[in-house]
């Protein structure tokens, strides 16, 4: 290729843009999938909380509520938390002496089927256990879910902008690279090379440089993602889950180098033909 500064940097410029684009894409996909996963986990999950000072009364109401939930057809699964599980839950706030000093409520986690009527279930529980209150995880996690959804939408718009910026930069870099070869293109034309042959020669070279840059960029971003995964996975509530990205978006990432090569080659083809036709 020619001596234009952008032409020398074509591969690295493409690599940088592709790394940014792929990383952003991986991050957004992870957030998006995590939001879906959280929604699935929280939407149908509820907890019965029985706050009763008298232990025998609390246990009686707990048994009644548990029995009721197990009998309902709209309830998918039920789990009554043991004393050990309760103590573990409050341990961060109350320390090791939680069991001896404070009366803990009885908790029953349960999930309902997608079309289960939460209000009807709440009424029946209240009838069976008057001290019971119902905690709907779906409504309490709604703020987090809507935040993740908003974040996801914003990031998709960033991805879209980044994608168009990548296309523009590739097109500009290719244009600069081909313009740097102006004299050679004209020479080949004067030596009797057909337009398609000249375009083919420069498209091949451009396509190779763009492909090289794309593969390097994708490889860098995937490497960063893999390294980041170890750090992010160690967080108490990991957001960046490798297993939360499904196959189809990864296939799209694999096609990104091909998409950029097509853009680069088409740009080079058009510019070379215009250059030769001016003669």
């Amino acid at each position: 290729m020619g001596k234009a500064p952008l032409s020398r940097m074509l591969s690295w410029l493409v690599a940088l843009m592709m790394a940014l684009l792929t990383l952003a894409l991986l991050f957004v996909l992870s957030i998006h999938q995590r939001a879906i996963s959280l929604h699935d986990q929280l939407a149908d999950r509820l907890t019965v909380q029985i706050v009763e000072a008298d232990p025998s009364n609390r246990d009686r109401q707990k048994e009644a509520a548990l029995h009721l939930l197990q009998s309902l057809s709209s309830v998918k699964s039920v789990h009554a938390l043991s004393q050990q599980e309760l103590e573990k839950l409050v341990e961060p706030w109350l320390g090791d002496h939680a069991d001896s000093e404070i009366t803990l409520p009885a908790l029953i986690d349960f999930t309902i089927l997608p079309h289960g009527d939460k209000q009807a279930i709440a009424a029946e529980i209240h009838h069976a256990a008057p001290s019971a209150s119902l905690d709907d995880h779906g409504s309490s996690g709604a703020t987090l879910l809507s935040f993740l959804s908003l974040l996801s939408s914003l990031l998709w718009s960033v991805i879209l902008s980044l994608f168009f910026a990548t296309i523009a930069i590739i097109a500009l870099a290719v244009r600069s690279a081909v313009n740097g070869c102006h004299d050679k293109i004209i020479l080949l034309s004067l030596l009797g090379a057909e337009q398609k042959r000249i375009a083919g020669l420069f498209c091949y070279k451009t396509g190779f440089d763009v492909f090289k840059g794309s593969v390097i960029g994708c490889a860098i971003s995937i490497l960063i993602a893999v390294l980041s995964r170890r750090l992010l996975a160690s967080l108490p509530t990991p957001i960046f889950h490798s297993d939360s990205i499904n196959f189809l978006p990864l296939l799209f990432i694999a096609f990104l180098p091909i998409i950029t090569v097509i853009i680069g080659v088409m740009t080079a083809h058009i510019i070379v033909l215009r250059m030769v036709e001016k003669r």
Binding site: L191, A193, E194
Partner: protein
């Protein structure tokens, strides 16, 4: 002899400015050697560029190999250019290619087979006396050597017309004489050689050549066989 290039009332100007070539009527015949002379700016290079179709007249008609280039579709121009060898004033060698690949370039553009390319380029390297420089790069060679490579590249396809713009401008007298001898021999074998030069001393070295002298207004001042020609004042 048949006409290979014909100019008929040709006018040419850059960007609709003053005429560089004005009302030019000229015929180049097959197998002839032509010197094109004239003062600086008389239009020698423009005339050559029109022959290899890098420039087109804005008025008049122009035929190359019998084809009217004024109406010829763009896609047919490469096939005509393949029949013309060009020696540029500034050589225009590709710096990234070695001597062998520079000379082989037209054959590679024609998609000729590699064994044909190797034998043809090897032969011409011997003819231009540079067989040991095949894998050198142009920047390591002298002006005279680069000039010979440019001539070899122009001749590698055995063109019907050789257009040379000041091909002896950068070389010593001895080398200029040998290049003129080569081009003269080629014209005797049927190649039309059209050579622009400002050096009138060269004219004496090709006695059978024709001399085309362009005037300062881009008009044709004279065309004559050299043995009928006398220097103008």
């Amino acid at each position: 002899m048949s006409a290979i290039v014909q100019f008929d009332h040709v006018h040419f100007a850059y960007n609709a400015g003053t005429d560089i070539l004005s009302d030019l009527n000229l015929t180049f015949e097959q197998g002839q050697f032509y010197f094109v002379t004239g003062a600086s700016g008389a239009g020698k290079t423009s005339l050559l560029k029109m022959i290899y179709m890098a420039l087109r007249p804005y008025r008049g008609s122009m035929r190359i190999f019998g084809e009217d280039v004024m109406t010829l579709p763009e896609r047919y121009i490469p096939s005509l250019r393949q029949r013309i060898g060009i020696v540029f004033q500034d050589f225009r060698l590709v710096p990234e290619l070695n001597v062998f690949d520079n000379i082989a370039l037209p054959l590679r553009l024609d998609r000729r087979k590699e064994n044909f390319i190797h034998s043809t380029v090897g032969r011409i390297l011997v003819q231009i006396d540079l067989p040991d420089k095949a894998f050198h790069f142009p920047e390591t060679l002298s002006g005279g050597e680069q000039q010979r490579i440019a001539i070899a590249r122009a001749l590698i396809r055995r063109p019907e017309i050789l257009v040379a713009d000041e091909p002896t401008g950068n070389i010593d007298d001895g080398l200029a004489a040998s290049i003129l001898h080569l081009l003269s021999a080629l014209s005797k074998r049927g190649m039309t050689v059209i050579m622009a030069t400002h050096d009138l001393h060269l004219l004496d070295r090709v006695p059978h050549a024709k001399h085309i002298r362009l005037g300062t207004k881009g008009n044709l001042e004279s065309v004559a066989l050299l043995d009928q020609w006398s220097p103008l004042k």
